[in-house]
């Protein structure tokens, strides 16, 4: 009798218990197929073409594995098979001859997307974009700090590049470190002169402009000729009159802080932050920066999981994914002035800063 009760108790326990186990997933990893078709559509010029022979690259954001590159067929399609289930950064680029109103010209096209699979057979179309309007661009961002063991990162600088065929003028422009959105400004520094109308500070076509946190020769004075950079050759220097310990090189013109109550120099995050160059017609920073006044915006972050803070109209990605602090590396556009409004595509991590020139 007792034995029977125990047997019933055990059997009931096992039955109830077995229902608690997690379900085994249906799919096996390693059999993901991605079928990608690349197209370029531009309704302004009535263009809708498949991009054949376009290089398509898959970079795995999760696992350490080599990048995969293949070329599209005549239908603009390429198939990647037996991949691990993972998040992929998919990019494609191709230069095509297009008539955009001025006769046939070679036009570089770029496409990118972050892909997360939800089924084993994934099919989608990747739409390419043409280049953004040429103009003044934030071309290089050196903020990570040189290799050192005393947390030195004060040799930060930013480089502008004029990718247009016209001379542009820096007069009255503002350079901002942004907060958690475009409506939040952390620092706002302004070039001297009148916005839009000023003609005092020109940048020639193809010209570089170096904006240093402090125009100082860090390489020789701090690091004895090794590492770091010589910023005494900078074109501009950020200065905050409310920063009593701030450095001010008398040989270099200043970009002045205009935010009341801000007492620091222009120091930004080593591997994550957002920068805006705007024409300076909106200096009321309490409600952020008007998007119409923005000339260029770059958001950078070493983390692939960082949430986007700037609006996608200004920058759809992040520069510097994977960059390490105190690595001596810098972020620079892959070609001078190259801009698709997606910093993930536009910028590359370069091993050392290039002050005033393109890598």
């Amino acid at each position: 009798m007792v034995k029977n009760r125990l047997i019933v108790l055990i059997a009931t326990g096992i039955f109830l218990f077995s229902g608690c186990f997690k379900e085994v997933p249906e799919y096996e990893d390693g059999h993901l197929n991605i079928n990608i078709t690349t197209r370029y559509v531009d309704s302004r010029f009535d263009i809708d073409i498949a991009l054949d022979s376009a290089a398509v690259t898959l970079k795995n954001n999760d696992y350490k594995m080599p990048m995969l590159t293949d070329f599209t067929d005549s239908n603009g399609t390429v198939l990647f098979q037996d991949l691990p289930w993972s998040e992929y950064m998919i990019t494609s680029e191709k230069e095509v001859m297009l008539d955009l109103g001025d006769g046939e010209l070679p036009v570089p096209l770029f496409a990118d997307t972050v892909f997360r699979p939800d089924k084993e057979e994934s099919i989608f179309t990747l739409f390419a974009r043409g280049p953004a309007e040429p103009g003044l661009k934030i071309n290089e961002i050196y903020t990570a700090g040189p290799p050192n063991n005393f947390f030195f990162f004060f040799d930060q600088y930013f480089e502008l590049y004029n990718s247009s065929s016209d001379t542009v003028y820096l007069d009255g422009m503002i350079f901002c470190r942004m907060g958690s959105s475009i409506e939040s400004v952390t620092y706002i520094f302004q070039f001297p002169g009148e916005p839009l109308t000023g003609r005092e500070y020109p940048v020639e076509p193809g010209g570089f402009v170096v904006l240093a946190k402090d125009a100082y020769n860090y390489r020789d004075e701090i690091f004895g000729g090794l590492k770091s950079v010589d910023l005494s050759v900078a074109d501009w220097e950020f200065v905050n009159a409310a920063d009593p310990g701030g450095m001010d090189n008398p040989d270099v013109p200043n970009i002045w802080n205009i935010k009341v109550g801000h007492t620091l120099d222009f120091m930004v995050g080593l591997t994550a932050d957002a920068l805006i160059l705007a024409d300076g017609t909106d200096v009321n920073y309490f409600d952020g920066i008007d998007i119409e006044t923005v000339i260029d915006c770059v958001e950078y972050s070493s983390s692939p999981t960082h949430l986007k803070e700037m609006p996608p109209e200004l920058d759809r990605g992040f520069a510097g994914i994977g960059q390490q602090k105190y690595s001596g590396t810098s972020l620079e556009r892959r070609k001078a002035g190259f801009d698709t409004n997606n910093s993930t595509v536009d910028f590359v991590i370069i091993p050392a800063p290039t002050v005033g020139y393109q890598h």
Binding site: V2, K3, L6, L9, I10, G13, I14, F17, S18, C20, F21, K22, V24, P25, E26, Y27, E28, D29, G30, H31, D62, Y63, K64, M65, D82, P84, W85, S86, P117, P147, N148, N149, S302, S303, P304, T305, G322, Q324, K325, Y326, S327
Partner: protein
């Protein structure tokens, strides 16, 4: 006597030289050579009394050293360990008993290549950094068992096991690990007047582990392996953290009967079924994300047949058992399995003990096969093999005089290891010796154990050495 000496030796073997982290395994491995305590075999605290213990208090001090002249990639070059083990057993009255055990162990893994795990090969989501360093571990394990006879023939028992261990790597990333386990085992048993026992027990175990790698000049660069061939490079940060949250349940049933068919034949049957699940989070300490989880499900059946009025003196013991389990792991947030592992293990053995004057000689043989079907889908890797193992052993209990006993044992074994050993066969030999003497203040004992593992087609030997000193009153 023999039981006590083996007790000392096994402490060195299990806690010392092997230096596994404290973890509740889903079910134990059974070996006919080491089966010496009925409670350990049956795993039901309601059957603790069947050990027929006298009240005792026992202290063990042990030291172990392992030199890995041959090693897997993520094994340390050397493992040093030392500890103290205090065991206490007391019959509270005719119907209840209490035992408790406190172990404090410290171990050091020297020249450990990259692994931030105590045993890299025991985890599907192992954590690594980029340096070779020495890692020190220390921590206590507390075990309490309470047994009570609730009515004639019926007994219940509760076992609580709690362990915590802390580890620290001496070089960048100076990873600090903290591992905490709790294990609650509750059982019921019925013991009939004719030597029949029937029992059931349920065990719940819970584990938490934290790994914290920090920057030194440069950010902490760590990787989380998924299996043994693919890894997820974690974002370099000032602090990188991994957390393990594990829990599991095991249900066991036991049956034991004396005098089966003939008066000297005893049979023990035990079986169990269980599942455990581990969730792994990794990333920054403020915002860790799920990196994956893995699940083990399975069961075991084991049987022991003992022939002899007193099998420890004269008799034959036979054992046969099997365990089958299925592991699977899934990455991050995708509903796919990236690892599967089916294991079917069969173990059998026989040993015979004969008296030689006042001494006992035991000769035994055990063997088994482990059918492994390990698949890493992400890396397209398959290991599908049936691995065999064999061991012959001989133990001699020598009664030197009325107050002094001695024990000697030798064994020779070979086994086919898993793929990550990078060799086809490992041959191993071991020697164990123990001496115990009764004094007016109690019993003093010392034991020694040595093992040598040699891969068949490779140079280098793994040498294990352990000593223990015990005092019992």
């Amino acid at each position: 006597m023999r039981k006590v000496l083996l007790f000392s030796i096994l402490i060195v073997l299990i806690h010392g030289s092997l230096s596994f982290g404290y973890e509740d395994y889903l079910y134990k491995n059974y070996s006919i050579k080491e089966m010496y305590r009925v409670y350990n075999l049956l795993n039901n605290p309601a059957l603790m009394r069947s050990n027929n213990h006298e009240d005792l208090m026992k202290y063990n001090f042990y030291f172990g050293n392992q030199e890995n002249g041959y090693r897997r990639t993520f094994d340390p070059e050397q493992i040093e360990s030392a500890g103290v083990d205090i065991f206490f057993y007391k019959a509270l009255d005719d119907k209840s008993a209490l035992s408790s055990r406190i172990i404090y162990e410290t171990s050091r893994l020297n020249n450990l290549y990259r692994s931030l795990e105590k045993d890299f090969y025991n985890s599907y989501f192992a954590y690594t950094d980029t340096t070779t360093g020495d890692v020190s571990y220390a921590g206590p394990i507390l075990n309490v068992i309470y047994y009570r006879e609730i009515m004639s023939g019926f007994s219940t028992g509760l076992e609580i096991d709690y362990g915590i261990e802390r580890g620290l790597k001496d070089v960048y990333t100076k990873c600090e690990t903290v591992s905490r386990n709790i294990n609650i085992n509750w059982g019921l048993a019925y013991t009939g007047s004719k030597g029949t026992s029937l029992g059931a027990s349920i065990r719940y175990f819970d584990r938490q582990g934290t790994y914290e790698a920090v920057k030194e000049i440069t950010d902490a660069i760590v990787n989380t392996y998924m299996g043994f061939h693919m890894y997820y490079p974690e974002q370099p940060r000032s602090t990188n953290e991994k957390k393990i949250l594990g829990k599991g349940v095991e249900i066991d049933a036991q049956f034991s009967k004396n005098n089966v068919f003939i008066s000297a034949l005893k049979i023990d049957l035990m079986g169990g079924y269980g599942s455990k699940e581990n969730r792994i989070d990794a990333g920054s300490s403020s915002n860790p994300v799920r990196r994956g989880y893995w699940v083990r499900e399975g069961g075991f059946v084991n049987s022991i047949l003992s022939l002899g009025k007193n099998p420890q003196r004269l008799g034959i013991v036979m054992m046969a058992g099997t365990k089958q389990y299925h592991d699977w792991a899934a990455p991050q947030n995708y509903d796919v399995k990236n690892i599967e592992n089916d294991i079917s293990d069969v173990n059998y053995g026989i040993k015979m003990t004969i008296p030689l004057w006042a001494n006992n000689l035991t000769l035994g043989y055990e063997a088994g096969t482990e059918a492994v079907n390990y698949r890493e889908y992400t890396a397209d890797f398959v290991f599908n093999e049936t691995l065999s193992r064999n061991r012959v052993f001989s133990d001699l209990d020598i009664r030197i005089n009325q107050v002094t006993d001695m024990y000697c044992g030798v064994w020779v074994s070979n086994f086919e290891p898993w793929f990550y050993w990078n060799t086809r066969l490992i041959q191993a030999q071991g020697i164990e010796m123990g001496l115990e003497r009764l004094f007016v203040f109690g019993k003093l004992g010392a034991s020694l154990q040595m093992e040598f593992w040699k891969p068949e087609d490779k140079t280098g030997v793994i040498e294990r050495f352990g000593i223990a000193i015990s005092y019992q009153k």
